[in-house]
Symmetry: C2
Subunit: 413 residues, 2 copies
Amino acid sequence: MNVEIIVIGDELLIGQVTDTNSGWIARELNHIGWEVTEITTVRDRVREITDALDSSFSRVDVVLMTGGLGPTKDDITKQTLCAYFGGKLVFDEAVFANVEAIFRRRNLQMNASTHDQAYVPDVCTVIQNPVGTAPVMWFEREGKVLVSMPGVPVEMKTVMQETVIERLRKHFCDHSAILHRTCLVKDFTESRLSETLTGFEHDLPSCIKLAYLPTPGVIRLRLTARGDDEASLQPILDRAFAKLKSLLGHHLFCDVDATLAGALGRLLSKRGETLATAESCTGGNIAHEITRVAGSSAYFKGGIVAYSNAVKEHVLHVSPDTLERCGAVSRDTVLQMTAGVQRLLSVDCAIATSGIAGPGGGSVEKPVGTVWVAARYGDREQAECFLFEGDREQVIARATQSGLLMLIRLMTE
Amino acid sequence: MNVEIIVIGDELLIGQVTDTNSGWIARELNHIGWEVTEITTVRDRVREITDALDSSFSRVDVVLMTGGLGPTKDDITKQTLCAYFGGKLVFDEAVFANVEAIFRRRNLQMNASTHDQAYVPDVCTVIQNPVGTAPVMWFEREGKVLVSMPGVPVEMKTVMQETVIERLRKHFCDHSAILHRTCLVKDFTESRLSETLTGFEHDLPSCIKLAYLPTPGVIRLRLTARGDDEASLQPILDRAFAKLKSLLGHHLFCDVDATLAGALGRLLSKRGETLATAESCTGGNIAHEITRVAGSSAYFKGGIVAYSNAVKEHVLHVSPDTLERCGAVSRDTVLQMTAGVQRLLSVDCAIATSGIAGPGGGSVEKPVGTVWVAARYGDREQAECFLFEGDREQVIARATQSGLLMLIRLMTE
């Protein structure tokens, strides 16, 4: 079943808010074998919303809509949909009771515009929103379905999981299956990898597609199988994935979809080992990437952001002589940082960085983008000097990925 | 000038990658007074790409496209656009030289599919991509413009900033001058602020517009002046901004456009004071936010990511009795964390966090989203317990902003 998403809100089109709802919806629908085929983001304007609806309904039978349901004047989705489906707004006691209950729970005062939240189109089925005041509206026309949901992620996710997905499945009785297998591959350029896999791609059964999702240093490969039922697809996909694994050998270092930090976390968890960070130029971003992963407290003990030389010296015990002689951006410094944090926090593995993120601070010998990265695993260690292109943010991001990848290499060599 | 964005890539429609390019483009165009009116996200399919193009061109004169330009088989944008504009692919020496140079710089081997990157439609103007191998293609038809750019953010941003925006302005004879003044306002809801500024807004000269950009806890106000020449606009804008400052008093805590961390950095720089962080649940994200700001090494000495209790106890000297009696997520713990890091790193100010980012680890008394935040300025300190809604990422982000804002409040009270 193909689905389109329409995302509504001026704030998205001036870049103030990033839409993460669509991606989440796409992932959820994939689990039931449904596919999001297009996402349209429009402003809070009647004409743009109805045009997008017309377009979407010309291509698919299910449209999921998020946003534009707040109590303020600029949110016009409810009125627009009411007119589009030829209804009128009526006061709904159940919705009002829900709004009242939520205001009570949050210790807020009701006012005229909250009262308006309880008016809903008489041509839709209302789905109660247990975590917010904006009602969820289910419209049907000629067998097609539109579900309008709030843009607040926690509200949308709750109603999708608790009600909408189940109701959509029931309504359409569709059972086509889509399965994915994703892996992470290191030390390959996209083009060399594509060359290596030409034969593999050619021999793939027609129900399976291979996609490349490159990031600096690492390529994500995704096999997608599409067919009538999961049971017969699974072994075909498994065979293709096994073949891929054997072709890629040690280049394939993670056989599920994960961030680099997530892949590192899986390695550490499997081995029951612990990790710490000692960051200068990445300024805490490596620790942040690691701790974005749920459950990371099982293997990540903590880190030192040693931005000033004083912290490098007094907390991490980098020798003042090294700092004086080689400078903070040097092989000796980053190696002493990993060793220092490994001792200080009693961990098995450590990552360290020291570099010039820019825009200031560069010199002829050490231009902006110069970053020394070190990794330590037990008593094995490695350090490398990179020269990253791009602005401060990009240098930090690249140094972060390089640090994570360096430790993964050291652990899987 | 209205602009539409078409984002291409299967990975976006299965939710594997989140599109942050569109938001960035929207913000950049906003600065020159252009407006993104619609964003369409489509799969790597010829028909879907050309249909989206037809639709967009029926509404606007400028379409910016990102993605689908890699060297692999699933990326079909170049071939699709070539056919759409009625051209054929030809080998381009300059593009080839650029690809070669990038491969040399990165110490990589060329192969057949990298060679293919040098084939470009003979009906477009090629804009060299200085940081990647995929060429940027500028197409024109009946006065309308399509620019196809790589989906890799660093590549897209570089060509937009270095070439595309300027060329678009020139092409559409947009010589109008646009000036902005932005400030950050705390402790106001959007509706109370808009009430406070009703008279001010009413009295603004017609060449100046006021925009509200609210984020949790802080509202960004932007005055935009638009006219024929900068010299006459500047004093008008300066007068309006001065009036705004006098109206908002101490609520206005930063008179340039900055992140919260940037605003805090300006305060610290002005006073010649230093900062350190002690983070548990935010896992390094506060340090990361602080060090994203260029020049932050002048006031940020470093931080401790105290993810495990052992680090809180042994590095920050949080009392084991406190950890035992009150738990790691408590007022006493975060206050001892700020005091501990202030002593350890010899700084004037400190921020600390300890909480439950989820999805695991919650309890009845301390559910997921519970975060204690503390700030310390000299010997003054403050701590507050928050209950943030949302998933792990949102809890981390909200706790980060709350920590930064708490120290700003403490410094400006």
